[in-house]
């Protein structure tokens, strides 16, 4: 296991942002890079690799990886639908959207479809309350969700997946 040359360069850049001897500060950004590069989740081997890279004890990395909700500690589907269910989104029908996705993909919250394409999660407020209901999908937000929009997103994902295969 090793980062690409490009990523290693980025890691060095990130470490240089913090004072001498404080490279632990780069841990959160480097874990993001690791998750992006090594299959969308942080396996124990990935975390150990990051620990070595930043001169940390593995436990220091595990502690952090388990604290933050964006680090996946288990493999996840190719597309993760993270639907917000907090107050303001609930007021605008997030429950209906969650139920619709469940029925459409035939999975429960926290589950992945059999083809490994989709994972459904519920999450707490993502700072898009005025554009509710909404979900996060990878690096982007999908807002003002309706059933039709959800259908279109699922279709889009399936097509992208087919193209990449």
């Amino acid at each position: 296991m090793k980062f690409s040359e490009d990523t290693l360069k980025k890691v060095a850049e990130v470490i240089a942002r913090y004072p001498e001897g404080k490279s632990k500060s780069a841990l959160l950004p480097v874990l993001h890079m690791a998750q992006d590069e090594f299959g969308g989740w942080l396996s124990p081997a990935t975390m150990d690799y990051v620990a070595g890279l930043l001169n940390l004890e593995p436990i220091e990395v595990y502690e952090v990886a388990t604290f933050y909700s964006m680090y996946n500690l288990k493999p996840v589907g190719k597309y993760i639908f993270e639907v917000c269910q907090t107050g303001p989104c609930m007021l605008n029908g997030s429950d209906r959207i969650i139920d619709y996705i469940k029925a459409k993909l035939q999975i429960g919250v926290g589950e992945t479809t059999q083809d490994g394409l989709f994972t459904l999660k519920t999450v707490e407020c993502l700072g898009a309350c005025g554009y509710a209901p909404m979900m996060q999908m990878g690096k982007n937000y999908r807002e003002h969700l309706t059933k039709e929009k959800v259908d279109a997103i699922i279709e889009e994902c399936r097509q992208n997946a087919a193209l990449n295969n």
């Binding site: 841990l27 952090v64 605008n92 700072g127």
Partner: protein, 452 residues
């Protein structure tokens, strides 16, 4: 039209780029501050402006800056709090997405005032596309000599870095944020020592909200006196409000703090009234942790005065009959919404976000969520209401950081103002599964809105 200081140029096409931003007068405050003022003069100006922290607590920004320790030979840091995770709040995102240079400009002037040569923007991890926008703006500012070494030939050096979080509301709390910036779990620190003395890497640190730091630009450009003339009393300048829930026009609005809550909700310039022609039931005016108010107490204070959109007026009546400006996250509930269910989602949020260090917060938030769930899903007991009250009271004030209070207040306020709705859920569990309670008798609505 009210005065706009932050969003004035938000609709200028291309304002996200350096060229357009500069052409529209951008970076003038950096020229003014670095060329003609000393760092202490900048701090003084911010003090005189009356600017209060826009992150939630409303602490005077200039005063906070004046507390920063300046021991010889020890670097100090400014950290911009862009963690924005309080439910109902999405104003900082708007500023960063559409006016990134305004934030960078404010950060340069503020870094100069505080003597921060390495300034960090801590942004919530979920805003995953925004670091690219900020980093582009930083690179453009640097190319044009506003960042880097010897800025404008004044001898002042400054770099700005973006640091992405990874999903944890608690990292908005300033000492948790500092821990997270150090690459650790976001466990809040016990204060004192305060960050102003011992912050990130044990160095003196100032943590300020995105909007507070952006507001430094108009303060320097127009002068503290002119800034302080806008607004009313101790609510000087303008405030960004992110409005959401059951309104016709959710979004981010800049207000001068003299307008009434009623105008804010019903005028077409702002929320445009309640969606689908319904009636107003309740509102949380300042982000999920501040007390919810029924319509009658929201539009008028207990004394019968018009309630205004500012720090003093929203807080009028204390927590008994008032609320708070908080972060400016304005959440509106229409007549068909269920206060029990809404409160349950907020309790779930705080349980999820508790860092777990203090038992009253770790255990209490879980109990509150569970009891509220029982009541919502028809399994509540009458004694649960008093139990909830008791739990929230035992959390408040007994924890390391204010997340405990933030979790307690929404529950307390919901029971205080909507007790009959809780009782109805418990008394008629089956009916409560079929329909909502509707307007509380005291959530006496206005006549139907004229617009919409």
């Amino acid at each position: 039209m009210s005065i706009k200081l932050l969003l004035e140029k938000a609709n200028v096409p291309g304002i996200i780029s350096y060229e357009v931003y500069r052409r529209e007068g951008g970076y003038a405050s950096v020229e003014k501050a670095l060329r003609n003022m000393t760092p202490d003069q900048v701090t003084d100006e911010v003090k005189k402006s009356g600017l209060r922290g826009r992150g939630g607590a409303g602490f005077p920004t200039g005063l906070k800056w004046s507390f920063l320790a300046k021991p010889d030979g020890v670097p100090r840091h400014l950290v911009c709090n862009a963690d924005e995770s309080e439910p109902g709040t999405f104003k900082d995102r708007y500023l960063m997405e559409f006016l990134p240079h305004l934030l960078i400009e404010g950060l340069i002037v503020s870094s100069f005032a505080l003597g921060s040569h390495h300034t960090y923007i801590y942004i919530r991890g979920e805003y995953a596309w925004i670091p690219d926008i900020l980093e582009k703006a930083i690179a453009e500012a640097k190319e044009n000599g506003w960042l880097g070494k010897n800025i404008l030939g004044t001898g002042f050096d400054c770099e700005i870095y973006v640091h992405r979080g990874a999903g944890a509301y608690i990292c908005g709390e300033e000492t948790a944020l500092i821990e997270s910036l150090e690459g650790k779990r976001g466990n809040p620190r016990i204060k004192p020592p305060f960050p102003a003395i011992k912050g990130v890497w044990d160095r003196p640190t100032v943590v300020n909200n995105v909007e507070s730091l952006a507001a430094v630009v108009p303060i320097i450009n127009y002068g503290a006196e002119a800034y302080a003339k806008i607004g009313i009393g101790k609510s000087t300048g303008t405030k960004l409000i992110s409005a959401c829930g059951n309104i016709n026009k959710p979004g981010v609005y800049e207000i001068d703090m003299t307008i009434s809550v009623e105008d804010f909700i019903y005028s077409d310039e702002y929320c445009g009234g309640i969606a689908h022609g319904k009636k107003l039931k309740a509102c949380i005016p300042g982000g999920s942790s501040v007390p919810i108010l029924p319509a009658n107490l929201l539009l008028k204070t207990a004394k019968g005065e018009k309630r205004l959109m500012n720090y003093e007026s929203l807080a009028d009546g204390g927590f008994a009959t008032g609320s708070s400006m908080g972060s400016g996250g304005f959440i509106v509930l229409d007549e068909d919404q269920c206060v029990v269910k809404h409160t349950m989602t907020l309790s779930r949020f705080y349980r999820h976000e508790s860092c777990g260090q203090c038992s009253p917060c770790r255990e209490g938030t879980g109990w509150m969520e569970k009891i509220l769930k029982n009541i919502e899903y028809g399994k509540g007991k009458m004694s649960d209401i008093d139990l909830l009250w008791d739990i929230q009271r035992r959390i408040e004030g007994n924890t390391i950081c204010p997340l405990g209070d933030a979790a307690a207040w929404p529950v307390a306020a919901a029971i205080r103002h909507f007790r009959d709705e809780f009782e109805w859920h418990i008394r008629y569990p089956e009916e409560a599964q079929q329909r909502n309670f509707g307007l509380a008798h005291y959530a006496d609505p206005l006549p139907a809105p004229q617009s919409a």
